[in-house]
Symmetry: D3
């Protein structure tokens, strides 16, 4: 069994582990994917009562269920936000005496925005129902459609991102990415009444700005063309580098739109198109027809 000791020795040499080891902080271990899964699942129960969580919520008892869920969300999420903040403090070797208090305030602000978050999601549900002739009713889209799952996670994550929370928003959108194949960066801006049909493989980058009533299909990329580097040779962060997609645009499956281009109002982008330039409002862009042998 001596070989085991030898392997263990080598794996415990600082030279081996230093760049892939996370050293723990008191009261702030790594965020927990498991707890965040519970938080998102309770948020889903709050936002869509009767569909998720305790599935037999009557109007009379709704207050209790929503109240209990919010109380638990507040405790769990505050702690996770704190962990997210401390994770960055550790990475950047910063003092983090204020993280805990800030986390509490941030979580409060997040919870206060839930009614608005629901208002937005109601429009997304309508978009899904109106956009798919196969849907039996809005309820089916809430319960079954990957688009609603992914957009709910995105809207939660985006709100946290806007409130300055690190890491946690990304974990939340990655949960949806794994479950649906839809990858929306928490930093993207997306207007109401948004729908992604099927959705597998669709990517929406960090600095995208998407208007109202936009519809995407599976395999659509709204990405960056290139990443400018600064004088220090490092990527410059935060520069707008993803498309602006205006109200009413439809992008069909497999289309790739790269860079800070603008797709004008009500434009239609055909499937499998590769686009790196502006498209005027109302235009239809299609792929060159395929040839036959």
């Amino acid at each position: 069994m001596g070989f085991m000791d030898d392997v263990i020795d080598r794996l415990c040499e600082p030279g081996s582990y230093e760049s892939v080891y996370h050293s723990p902080k008191r009261h702030a271990p790594m965020p927990s994917v498991e707890v965040l899964t519970e938080v998102v699942s309770r948020l889903r129960a709050v936002l869509f009562p009767g569909y998720f969580g305790h599935s037999e919520v009557e109007a009379e008892s709704m207050r209790y269920h929503i109240g209990t869920n919010l109380d638990k969300i507040r405790r769990l999420l505050t702690d996770q936000i704190n962990r997210g903040k401390c994770f960055v403090c550790v990475a950047e070797n910063r003092d983090c005496t204020k993280c805990e208090d800030e986390a509490e305030e941030t979580c409060r602000a997040f919870i206060e925005s839930l009614p608005e978050l629901r208002r937005l999601l109601v429009t997304d549900v309508m978009a899904a129902y109106e956009g798919d002739p196969a849907a039996v009713g809005p309820g089916e889209t809430i319960f079954c459609y990957p688009s609603i799952l992914a957009v709910t996670n995105y809207r939660i994550a985006n709100r946290l991102h806007t409130l300055g929370v690190p890491l946690i928003p990304r974990i939340i959108t990655e949960m949806a990415h794994s479950a649906t194949g839809i990858d929306i960066h928490p930093g993207a801006t997306i207007g109401e009444h948004f729908f992604i049909d099927h959705g597998t493989g669709t990517v929406i980058g960090e600095t995208c700005v998407i208007g109202r009533k936009v519809r995407l299909y599976q395999g659509v990329t709204l990405g960056a063309k290139s990443f400018p580097k600064g004088d220090d040779g490092k990527l410059i962060k935060g520069i707008p580098r993803h498309p602006v997609v205006e109200d009413g645009v439809v992008v069909y499956s497999g289309a790739t739109i790269l860079g800070r281009v603008t797709i004008g109002k009500d434009a239609v982008i055909g499937g499998n198109v590769w686009l790196t330039r502006d498209v005027p409002a109302g235009t239809r862009v299609l792929q060159t027809p395929a040839g036959e042998e």
Copy 2:
């Protein structure tokens, strides 16, 4: 803590929740994804004995294991079918005194079709094995291949869909969609000996008609071109709007075929192609070659 009460109040206003709230019915709460997961997992154990479920089924004791699984499936699935029916009754404000009895009959019909369902899946396993030079044997495709997982869920869901069960079939295909990235609508018609290699991002729409010995790759879309609206401005449901793909066709990765077009027998559609027209039997369709800078 007063802000919590305020948020709760706002989330409990009927104006906020009405279109995203599911009001419960006695004896028929929401279908349960968890129970349906168990049902599908027991069906997999019945269809592929020794591969799933209790993995040490000997020929002598097979009867007992299949019998027990079917007995549990019958109870669990009957209840879920009933919930699916009632879900629609609630949505459409219909009386549903007969749902429970109908659910029992439907479940019986479903179970009676399992031998035929297995016969079809045997051909799909052969298709997977013959279609992939990397496969060690048919067993590997049963145990590991996303295609077999997705097609099994589809064939189960399609049978339930054909029997008029709402909602439940969609939940079952979405389980496979989430696990494999393959999105097959339960309403699609798919012949025997069917295989999707890799599969992530492949979409097969509701009114597709796919023949025998068809092979698809990842990222293939068999979708609808547009959704005609009726005089009332609403989408007309049930119109054939997805492709017909005849026997022996191969569609390579990333191809998008839209609308009620027909891809003729043994045709080959190249990768990344965008197609909205009929293709004669035996033809090869390729993308225009990419240019070099």
Copy 3:
């Protein structure tokens, strides 16, 4: 209830189940996806201490945690390797008296390679961090990025594949495929400092050879063009049939590269391109521009 007995009878006829039934072997039932999930999760804890598993590993106690994890991995994985070997023996009707001893040796060789495996993964983490302007630090890529998850599973699976273990490697890469949409065959060869951005739908075939510092995007296919058959009409296995991608190449989203072609050093392949020919080093290949209606 008589119909149940009838269905059970039909499902238990050898003619119905023979090609989809796995007959059990003493001491070697089917490999367990559940146990392999635990093995991979413990490997992740060993490779990235403090990020996964027991998340509060201090430098002083790291030895104990890594030692305990490796001891459990050794027992569990040896048994799974044995099951994988026996699965093939059963399929090929071979005697397998040596499987158990071989499994022990193979597992030992696998564990001895873990330090090197970690060295490779450190370079992959750097590639992810340097390649994405949205990443806060290397830690975020370890904890959140699908690329690191998929590449970790691939490097584990590839090592087992190289050691001649059947079935198990494929199960391990399929776990990552399901979670991330990234499908890397365990037989592929991939150099260090490798990154796949977003990743959903990307496929890397069995005989691919990928150099160092290669970056792929979502929806990229490195696939086979056709599968030559031997005189017996069966697919010939093991022939190099997937692309060679040299150092420094970037392939954008949705590109499809098929066959044993070579993409030369530092070449850039644009999104949605369909390629079946060699590309010289340093070249940029782009899709023909899409037309406007």
Copy 4:
């Protein structure tokens, strides 16, 4: 394997199973010990907020937690009461069309009695705290003492028993019996401010009447002396056959008191005493001194 079929045949002969087989009824399977465990655990959280269940209940959010727990208790317990009623209907071959409605009313009456039930339990907590010099505070008795656990289950079960619910009360007292070794029949009558120290082996029979401020120790039996049979040779049910224990009585460990005798106010019964007669108020009864060899 043939012996298995033979054993199964014999176990499935009606002659073998008829008196130990429970035939199922639609919508009313056996009561579930698991669900009743959840019900009792939620009741404990309602009765002792902050000690059990969600352990961080603030005064401001208490309403929500209690409301949610009660709503779930109402659904779960109504269903279990119904099952208990139907269990008897099946056993006695009675029609049970009203069970479901009755169960709902009974559950309502039970819930309405919870404030009174808490009032009683507050006195029991005080009795435990005052009776044990080792107790740090009342909180320790709530959280740790078998007496509080057993008496809580008894008071819940007794209320259900009084409301005419069969079977369920016994299941609830048996849960406490298993956990604490204290066996209180749900039919017993017990006044406020009741405490059993240590408690293992203490038995309180069905027709016992216990006053206020009574204290028992471990191994005390308040049992029946004999069971009179009716003309039909069967035990006559419901006859008072257990002791009456008046206010302020103390019974030390291992004492056995049998039959419908009365232990008068403030009497003290010594350890290991065997008693089958009335004891006047204020008396002390001790065992004959043990001899020495």
Copy 5:
């Protein structure tokens, strides 16, 4: 953290651990309480169909449920019997090449005795029902009474003990001991129609011989008086040292009967009695009356 290393060093010194360390054997780790719990729970479902396990067993499907349970019991229990045998081999430093085959045979013999075991338990159920005026029906005693639970475990364990299985029988009776406070040694001999009312604290020793229609109460000890030692100063094992209790005897709560004495047919032993001599048939033995101060 240095103190941890020091403590670990001391705990890993052979002098510290040698007499409390179990060294593992290949293919035969410690028996698993968890697995044995499952085995006993499946046996309960086989013996009392419809009461335990899958609670909705109809006569038509009973064969399947019993068959599946027996098939799983056979595999699991064979392995546990093997572990029990090897545990002794390790303790006694014996070769154990035959353990595995013997375990299979023993398990077969055990399973073949299940119909007889059920026949006995039917009489125990009747004894419980007839002996307790509070019982609603035999079903309540099956589902709720500690006596049935403890006697079922005992009859299972006794059968295994008779078949020469070490360790496992004791684990099975200890499960019941923990749940009910009833401690029956697997080696005791107990006739049919046996009932223990309440039961907490009752102990039945290894060489007890109990006749038919015997009834015990809680806190009864049927124990050994002294343990004769051999010339080597060690306890002599296997000598009859516990009471013989003939048909129809009743022993009331807290009675202690020690040594190889015989309690004659239909004798009644009163509560709290201490007995170390024979009692003639038909006699009533009572405690000397307690005095009053």
Copy 6:
């Protein structure tokens, strides 16, 4: 549903809940029985390697398993000790700024005493093995005997009690009480080589002093006679009020010994005896013989 609101209102009135409500403190909620169960289970794995926890610990890898367990125990137990301390601070309305640091020191002292704790338990295992002719080997007593379980929990709890930890020790002995029916107060003093046969119902009070090589049986009470009250009418805490039991004493089942009496060296107390006076060394005390009717 209005009655629900009414019940909730009444349960939320401070007058109703004030004496049974635990108000939470930041970073110090109620101790968790679940976590303490894990701690004790890991301690058992450390103390008896190979019997509990990971059951295949080889001498070569023992260090890793013990190290990992101790590291987790240290974290989990430190937190629980802190919660125990804060629980008292809340109850007594004290400031508790130092609890966290003290908890860390206390936990360290506890861990440092584990080698001594194991030394003691080795003697207890020998006592169990030597005291029971039915035991196959010491290993059987470790794995199966309630005495070893209860005494292990007691020795852990006693060490924590000695270190001044409130509440937690009681929770740990109550776990054993519930599982075995043996109720040992953490404050009792018990010498090495201690054994309780069968054990159900045995009670050992807070100020007991028990010597070496003492053996007890089931149902033995070592209790207090009366609780003297101070001038304020409250029970005086901490006065020696339980028996002193000297080396080599045996107490048979059901005996009750009350008050600060001394049972001299090697004395034997017969079953069911009631004792409130000193017993000289070497004496045998037996119950007055029972009469016959």
